[in-house]
Symmetry: C2
Subunit: 340 residues, 2 copies
């Protein structure tokens, strides 16, 4: 159901990027990060974590790093990657089940009203996806919808989300892996639409992806045992739902967690990580780069306030990241980039 060469694409891209940065940066594992507190904090943490005897040492099986996906590894504006490809599916579902139109998230999606859609929260988005996959098999949804999703362009950048990984975060994943960390993704988006992207873009195996899950039931179709989506929601893995989902999937508190501002989605798993026995690191991405990406946060700046109170490390996309995307600068869909 998934490809066989996880991560090859970004490994090659990174190797090329490293080879091109010249001798001065050849030994810098985070060349896209500006020197500063965030970068030096990360480097010190991974060094200590992998050196037995020092205070910050973390035994290898406990070197678990959990990343949010939308807004942390790829853009989540103007809309998360999981939403784009299901509009057609939702129209089909509504034609069969007109009562679906009563769901606020469904009506907002069909009206193209993104603010109203996002106001329904992660649970609203998941309910839309549940409607869109109802009565299809797991394999049909992967083949007919998820594969297509990975080719649809982000409306602002004109390129698919699989080409919009943040380059500094790819460098961070490689650094953590090189120091024996296992990489997990814990996203509020439905597993059906995060696993393929996580594998293709970040080399994260389907079994290392935690996400909102849609109920399935065993059935027989064309004389074959299959799993069919029932239309029900099993779990929504957002906010305070993330630590229980991490416990269920991993069984240990993560030592490293990264999330982003905008929806308070990652604060709970950051606190859960911080209160483990032993060293830990929490990294909060601040979307403050309206020029290269987007500038947004919660109305009351809840995530930044929590970061200050709990001593989470904050990354300014505008100031701390020298490069934003892994691939050459994307052409903006709404116009030409400066200087072109």
């Amino acid at each position: 159901m998934y490809g066989y060469q996880p991560g090859i694409r970004h490994v090659i891209a990174l190797a090329v990027a490293l080879a091109c940065t010249g001798a001065a940066h050849a030994l810098d594992p985070l060349p896209s990060w500006r020197d500063g507190a965030a970068k030096s904090g990360i480097l010190a943490f991974v060094e200590d974590a992998s050196h037995e005897g020092v205070q910050g040492f973390i035994p290898a099986p406990q070197r678990i790093a959990v990343f949010d996906m939308d807004g942390t590894l790829i853009p989540e504006k103007p809309l998360p990657a999981a939403v784009l490809p299901i509009v057609a599916d939702v129209r089909t579902a509504v034609s069969r089940h007109p009562e679906l139109r009563e769901k606020p998230a469904v009506s907002a999606l069909l009206a193209g009203d993104l603010p109203a859609l996002q106001a329904t929260g992660q649970a609203g988005l998941v309910s839309v996806v549940a409607a869109a996959v109802d009565d299809r098999t797991v394999e049909e949804v992967e083949r007919d919808t998820a594969v297509a999703q990975r080719k649809l362009p982000n409306p602002r950048f004109g390129r698919p989300y699989t080409a919009l990984a943040y380059r500094p975060m790819l460098e961070l994943l490689a650094l953590l892996r090189a120091h024996g960390f296992s990489i997990w993704i814990c996203s509020g988006s439905p597993l059906a639409f995060t696993r393929g992207l996580a594998l293709e873009e970040f080399g994260v195996a389907p079994s290392q992806v935690i996400g909102s899950s849609l109920a399935t039931r065993l059935a027989t179709k064309d004389q074959r045992t299959v799993l069919v989506y029932t239309g029900a929601i099993e779990q929504v893995t957002d906010k305070e739902g993330k630590p229980p989902a991490i416990h269920r999937a991993i069984g240990q508190r993560p030592a490293f967690v990264s999330g982003n501002v905008g929806g308070e989605g990652d604060l709970a798993m950051m606190r859960y990580s911080q209160d483990r026995d032993g060293a830990s690191f929490q990294l909060l991405i601040n979307h403050d780069d309206a020029v290269r990406e987007f500038a947004y946060a919660e109305p009351g700046h809840a995530s930044l306030d929590a970061a200050a109170a709990h001593h989470f490390t904050v990354v300014s996309m505008a100031r701390d990241w020298l490069a934003l995307f892994n691939d050459p600068p994307p052409r903006e869909a709404a116009g030409s980039p400066p200087g072109e």
Copy 2:
């Protein structure tokens, strides 16, 4: 929360066992298996799975092996490992919430009526455990109950379940790992009581264990962020609940599945594995060894009938296994073994 040296114990035991079997068996990866259809079928499958170009080749990321635990890797009679240690916890819970006594599984447990308890099925057992852990943190249950559980003796053999791994199955796990398979356990027993045992006895990491899960909620206790059991059941991973749980946790159909007769618990995941694209193997353990262990099956022999219909490979514990337990023969609690 768990130890740092998964599997060392059984790796050493196996190395010693292999060293002692002499030259004739030195190259046999399954020395406790009698030559026959089951053994040769397994050996041919793993050889083909790991040799690119042959028909049965399985790409490495798809080499996923899923084992049931109770009755497949360790005995499940006279009662499953998860039940024994919670009797005291259930008494405490009932004294606080007398209405729990109305649950058939709870009253059967308190009455010591094992047949009545087992008649409530996996869901009944899980409901007992949910009552026993209610309102405690994940870490408290691990420390106060699960650790103790791993020391309590099985009533027939007088030794803890951690010393009752089936030796032929340990050899099979080692063989699969040597051929690039990742090992998962999918048990109907609650995660809270399977993960520690899986790590200690089989070297299976907590993140590779799938099981019935009890709901938790984020809370603060002694100024620390913790997960507290709510007393609710999230999912029961038995029978037709196993394939959806495998999909949620792994995201791929397993290529190798092993389960056992007795409760029809593993037939659904065997069919789910068999209908994957590509080679697969299903191994059903038949408990037909009343002398060394137990002889039991479903009243209508549903598992054996399904195995015949679907061409699953059946293992006779009495005939196919030369040795039963990994460690020296256990002393029977109810008397001395023959010859002593």
